[in-house]
C-alpha cells in the first residue's frame, strides 16, 4: 500500500496530465456527437461581449463597402418591387406569410478550420431560434446552432458537418451541399444523378426540400464537375457567390411552417 501511494505521489504530475487530457478528450468526443460543444462556445456572455466590442471597433473600417453592398441590394429589390405582379392573392397580414426575416451582425467569423462557426449579435431575446437559416445579400451562409440571451452561433456552410439541400437553378434536380475543408471559396454538391446535363458556370441555388431555407436562394456557380467512384452521381465543385472571409451584416430567415413540416416528417418516419 505504502508503495502504491509513493508511486502515485512520485508521478503526480503524470497523473494530473492524464486526468486533464481525459477531461479535454471527453469534451472533444462528446461534442463530436453533438453538433457543437453545448457549454463551451462563443455565444456565451463574456466571449460574446468581448467579440461584440471588437466588432464594433473594426466595423468602422468597412463602412464604405457595407454601404455599397446595401445600395446594390436596394437597387435589386427596387427592380423586383417595380416588376412585382400585384394580384388578388396578395396576403396583407404579414404574419400569415411563411417566411420572416430579421437582420443581425456577425461579431466573430472563421473560415480556415474544418468546422467553422460564426457568432452573431442576436439571441434568444430577439426571437432567434435553433435551425433558423442565415443568408447574406449574396447567398447562403449557414444555420443557427446555439443560442444564448444576446448572441447565437451559426454553423457555417464551411463546416464538414454541414449538409444543405441544393439544386441546379431552373431544374428540380437536387443534391446535398457539403464541404471537404480544403478551400474556403469552394463547396461540394453531391448526389446529382449522372443523366443531368451540366455546364460549367451553371448557377446552384437552395432546393425546396429544406424546411430551413426558402427555395432559390443563390449559392454559387459550377466550377468543375466529375463522376464519383460509383460512376452514377456527379461530384460538383461550386464556387460560392459569398466571400466567406468578409461577412458582416446577415439576414435570419425563419420558416413558420417548419415545426409543422418537421413533425409530419417525424411521424411518417416512425410508422
Amino acid at each position: 500500500m505504502q508503495r502504491i501511494i509513493n508511486f502515485i505521489l512520485n508521478n503526480r504530475n503524470t497523473f494530473l496530465y492524464a486526468l486533464l487530457s481525459f477531461i479535454a478528450l471527453l469534451l472533444t468526443v462528446r461534442s463530436h456527437s453533438y453538433h457543437q460543444s453545448k457549454f463551451f462556445n462563443s455565444s456565451r456572455w463574456v466571449s460574446g461581449k468581448i467579440y461584440g466590442t471588437a466588432a464594433n471597433i473594426s466595423g468602422y473600417f468597412s463602412l464604405k463597402e457595407e454601404n455599397q453592398k446595401l445600395a446594390d441590394e436596394n437597387q435589386r429589390l427596387r427592380k423586383l418591387l417595380f416588376n412585382a405582379q400585384t394580384g388578388e392573392e396578395q396576403v396583407l397580414d404579414s404574419s400569415l406569410l411563411p417566411f420572416q426575416v430579421a437582420q443581425a451582425k456577425v461579431i466573430k467569423n472563421s473560415f480556415s478550420a474544418p468546422r467553422n462557426y460564426l457568432t452573431i449579435n442576436k439571441g434568444d431575446n430577439d426571437g432567434v431560434t435553433q435551425d433558423m437559416g442565415v443568408i447574406t445579400s449574396k447567398g447562403i451562409l449557414g444555420i443557427v446552432e446555439n443560442i444564448s440571451g444576446q448572441f447565437a452561433t451559426v454553423q457555417s456552410i464551411l463546416n464538414t458537418k454541414s449538409s444543405i439541400n441544393a439544386k441546379i437553378k431552373n431544374t428540380d434536380y437536387f443534391g446535398s451541399l457539403e464541404w471537404d475543408a480544403s478551400d474556403h471559396t469552394v463547396v461540394q454538391l453531391v448526389d446529382i444523378p449522372r443523366l443531368v446535363p451540366l455546364v460549367v458556370g451553371d448557377t446552384i441555388v437552395t432546393g425546396a426540400m429544406s424546411s430551413i431555407f426558402p427555395e432559390n436562394i443563390p449559392i454559387g456557380t459550377i466550377k468543375r464537375y466529375d463522376l464519383n467512384a460509383s460512376k452514377s452521381y456527379y461530384n460538383i465543385d461550386v464556387a460560392l457567390f459569398n466571400d466567406m472571409a468578409n461577412v458582416r451584416w446577415v439576414y435570419l430567415v425563419q420558416n413558420h411552417n417548419k415545426a409543422e413540416i418537421d413533425q409530419l416528417e417525424a411521424q411518417t418516419e416512425d410508422e
Partner: protein
C-alpha cells in the same frame, strides 16, 4: 511588474486577447492562423510547481477554445506541450537546466529557438491531428502543420526578442 504571479497573469490575459481578437482572424495567405499563445509556455518560469503549470496551461487552452468554438482542441494541444516542456528543455539545454543557477542568459540563441520551435511543432501537430482526425486527410494535416508552425515560430521569435525580460 516584478512579482512573477502578476507578470504571468498579465501575460495570460494579454496573450488570450491577442490570440482570439487578432491572430484567429489573421488569415495570412488565405487560411493560416498562427497560434502565438504557445509562447506562454516559453515565458513561464522554469522552477515553478509543475502541477500549477499544467493547470494554468489547461485553463488558457480552455478559454481559447471557448472563444474559437473549437471543442477542446487547444486545451489538449497546449496541455500536452506543457507536460512535455521539461523533456524538450533537457533535449535543448542538456542536463544543466536542472541546476538552480540555470538561466536563459547562459544559453545560445540557437538553443532557445530550437526549444521554442519544438514546443510549437508539438502543439500544432496535436492540434491539427485531433482537429481533422482522419487518415485520408494526412496531406492536408501535414500542410497545415508545416505552414502554421512556420508562421507561429516566426512571430514567436519576434515576440521573444521584442519583449525579452531583462531580469531573466
Amino acid at each position: 511588474m516584478n512579482n512573477p504571479i502578476v507578470l504571468n497573469a498579465f501575460r495570460f490575459v494579454l496573450l488570450l486577447l491577442a490570440q482570439v481578437l487578432i491572430f484567429n482572424g489573421l488569415n495570412f495567405m488565405g487560411t493560416i492562423n498562427p497560434m502565438v499563445y504557445v509562447i506562454f509556455l516559453y515565458w513561464y518560469p522554469i522552477k515553478e510547481n509543475r502541477a500549477v503549470f499544467l493547470l494554468v496551461a489547461f485553463l488558457l487552452g480552455l478559454l481559447i477554445d471557448i472563444f474559437s468554438d473549437s471543442l477542446a482542441l487547444h486545451t489538449l494541444a497546449i496541455l500536452t506541450a506543457a507536460f512535455a516542456r521539461p523533456f524538450i528543455m533537457r533535449f535543448c539545454f542538456g542536463v544543466n537546466y536542472e541546476f538552480q543557477n540555470f538561466t536563459f542568459k547562459n544559453t545560445t540563441k540557437i538553443q532557445r529557438i530550437t526549444y521554442l520551435a519544438l514546443l510549437i511543432v508539438l502543439h500544432h501537430t496535436i492540434f491539427f491531428c485531433f482537429e481533422i482526425l482522419s487518415f485520408s486527410h494526412i496531406l492536408l494535416i501535414l500542410k497545415k502543420i508545416l505552414s502554421t508552425s512556420l508562421l507561429t515560430i516566426f512571430l514567436c521569435t519576434l515576440f521573444s526578442s521584442l519583449f525579452s525580460p531583462k531580469s531573466e
